[in-house]
């Protein structure tokens, strides 16, 4: 089988398995998987910036929150229908990421991490500052009636799962297309050697800005979908923890692999789930996982597999 054939079959198989699980998974895991799929879209976006382009951001929660609040506030305060509100949310993610990129991409490395962290922190504090509108930490619940789009009601478990799967499938396909496209190759080139890429005629700033905006689009889509599917909007999603989570997912699953973010989100979700059944010290699990990963498996699950056996893995 050609590499392209293998890649297509693998990704279709993952999607088919997730569709199959819709019919057989016990309710508890069914509900978990819907959440994991939305979080995986967020992590995929993170991976486009970090894994493929080499931009280690500590501020992606800002883009997720832009999607979440872009959708939530337009429904809650402006009374928009859910459809336009969703689109506003995902575009808000891309716009905030692009705007932040214009400033933050003037820096690199450690400075870039701190700048993104600071902007995200300022965003979080801004949400708190406007508690009158955003309800701050406590957040608000979007009523079921306001969330349906022309008869499409996302509040049932089944609909929620299938909608999350649909979003995940589109995100996966776009991600796959992106990394095999010209832009995807140049993103990797910038990550590997920025100066060389410049002297091949590529503008590193523009490529990184594009990658960050696409990454923000994914984060915004995930945030918008979260508000729409699960109906809750709160400032907790804008905290530093939500910038660290996708980093953790991507490191665990494998940075620079298309399926890594999903695998990492799935594994981490269940690791925390199992750990919180045993102890309420689940942050300890996150902390230990970060240290162990960065020490012993910096390439993550799929990254290590690709290095040893599956060189065709995108």
């Amino acid at each position: 089988m050609s590499d392209t054939g293998r890649i297509l079959s693998l990704h279709l198989a993952v999607l088919a398995a997730l569709l199959g699980l819709h019919f057989v998974a016990p309710p508890y895991h069914h509900a978990n998987l819907a959440r994991v799929m939305v979080l995986a879209v967020y992590a995929m976006g993170y991976n486009i910036a970090f894994g493929y382009t080499g931009l280690l951001s500590l501020g992606h929660a800002l883009f997720f929150a832009a999607g979440l609040y872009g959708t939530g506030l337009t429904i809650q305060l402006a009374g928009w229908p859910a459809g336009p509100a969703l689109i506003t949310g995902l575009l808000a993610g891309a716009a905030v990421a692009g705007g932040l990129g214009l400033l933050a991409l003037r820096t690199a490395g450690v400075s870039f991490m701190i700048v993104t962290l600071m902007f995200a922190q300022a965003g979080y504090l801004t949400i708190l500052y406007f508690t009158g509108y955003t309800r701050g930490e406590e957040g608000f619940v979007l009523p079921a009636a306001a969330r349906s789009i022309g008869g499409l009601d996302p509040t049932g478990e089944a609909a929620r799962y299938l909608l999350a799967l649909a979003l995940f499938a589109v995100a996966l396909a776009v991600n796959l297309g992106l990394v095999r496209s010209g832009l995807g190759r140049v993103m990797v080139a910038i990550r590997e050697n920025e100066e060389r890429s410049r002297m091949l005629g590529y503008d590193p700033f523009r490529v990184k800005l594009a990658a960050l905006a696409i990454s923000g689009l994914y984060a915004g889509a995930a945030g918008a979908a979260w508000g729409w599917l699960f109906g809750y909007v709160g400032a907790g999603f804008a905290t530093i923890q939500y910038s660290i989570l996708p980093l953790l997912y991507v490191l665990l699953g494998g940075a620079g692999t298309v399926l890594g973010p999903f695998l990492g989100a799935l594994a981490m979700f269940y690791l925390i789930d199992i750990a919180s059944g045993l102890t309420d010290a689940y942050l300890m699990v996150v902390g230990v996982a970060l240290v162990v990963l960065v020490l012993f498996a910096p390439k993550g699950i799929l990254g290590s597999l690709r290095e040893r056996w599956l060189r065709w893995l995108p």
């Binding site: 991490m113 600071m118 902007f119 300022a122 504090l125 708190l128 500052y129 902390g287 996982a289 020490l295």
Partner: protein, 293 residues
């Protein structure tokens, strides 16, 4: 109270936060300057210092001054030892790669915070000040202990400065900072220097926390603000410059005291974080640093 004394009070409060902040930030800046490591767990080390201080003071019977004095010795040493272990067990193995060490210290932050929550509990706990002196000014009385904190911070900062600029240890540190490879070639054990610097940085944070704990109670989440403010101070002061760090700590500490009197603290924090981000973008050498050619 009229405006003048009110402002004086704000400035005094600001001086106290500036003193504590300077100690904490110098620790963070030292680690970054010599090791090029951004220690996200710095705030956690600060918190740990406060928590250990409470534990020591709580365990020792007798006058509060005795417990406090013991805490002043034990907490920084314990935290420094932990930091040296983190350096040896984690950071060194990562080859001090900037990205990887940030991720790892985020992990350490979570581990320390969770450990403190599990062992120490979610409540804030007070430590008694070693003495209860009240300085009576014409307009209001002021805590003598707070002034002692400022004096102690000045003494410690002077000591740090002397060590860095005059002693052999300081020379070795600067040599390692400028060029680790060459320092190694000249027989400097850079592994020990790194472990020592990381321990010293964490110890300074812990010391600052012990000083602050009679004023502000010990709590497992108390490390967040010092971390953020230390970042701000180190960046504004110019990464790796001791003098700039101290000046920036004064500026931020005093203006925070004054600003929070007039603005909502949230708005002040928003403006401060945005300021730091913009300084990094447009003046990466800091407000007081000079641009390298």
């Amino acid at each position: 109270m009229s405006f003048g004394p009110y402002l004086l009070l704000a400035v005094l409060e600001g001086l106290v936060s500036a003193a504590v902040l300077a100690l904490t930030a110098v620790g963070l800046g030292l680690v970054f300057g010599v090791m090029r490591v951004v220690n996200v767990a710095h705030g956690a080390f600060f918190m740990l210092g406060a928590v250990i201080a409470w534990m020591v003071a709580d365990a020792l019977p007798g006058p509060p001054a005795l417990g406090f004095a013991a805490a002043l010795v034990v907490a920084p040493l314990a935290v420094a030892a932990l930091a040296a272990a983190v350096d040896f067990g984690v950071l060194k193995r990562l080859g001090y790669d900037p990205d990887a060490t940030i991720v790892a210290t985020i992990g350490v932050l979570y581990i320390v915070e969770q450990a403190a929550l599990s062992l120490f509990g979610p409540d804030a706990r007070p430590v008694q000040a070693p003495f209860n002196l009240r300085l009576q000014l014409p307009w209001f009385g002021y805590s003598g202990y707070k002034l002692a904190v400022v004096a102690a911070a000045v003494v410690v900062l002077l000591a740090v400065w002397l060590v860095l600029s005059r002693s052999r240890a300081g020379l070795v540190m600067r040599a390692t900072q400028i060029d680790g490879e060459t320092a190694r070639a000249f027989g400097i054990d850079t592994d020990r220097v790194y472990a020592g610097v990381f321990a010293l940085g964490a110890g300074l944070a812990a010391l600052a926390a012990v000083l602050v704990v009679p004023i502000q109670q010990a709590h497992y989440l108390m490390g967040g603000d010092p971390l953020l403010l230390s970042f701000i101070v180190v960046i504004i002061g110019g990464l790796g410059s001791l003098r700039g760090t101290v000046i920036a700590a004064l500026l931020i500490g005093v203006s925070e005291g004054v600003v929070s009197v007039f603005f909502s603290p949230t708005l002040a924090k928003i403006l401060a974080t945005l300021l730091v981000a913009l300084v990094l973008v447009f003046r990466p050498q800091g407000l007081f640093g000079r641009r390298a050619a």
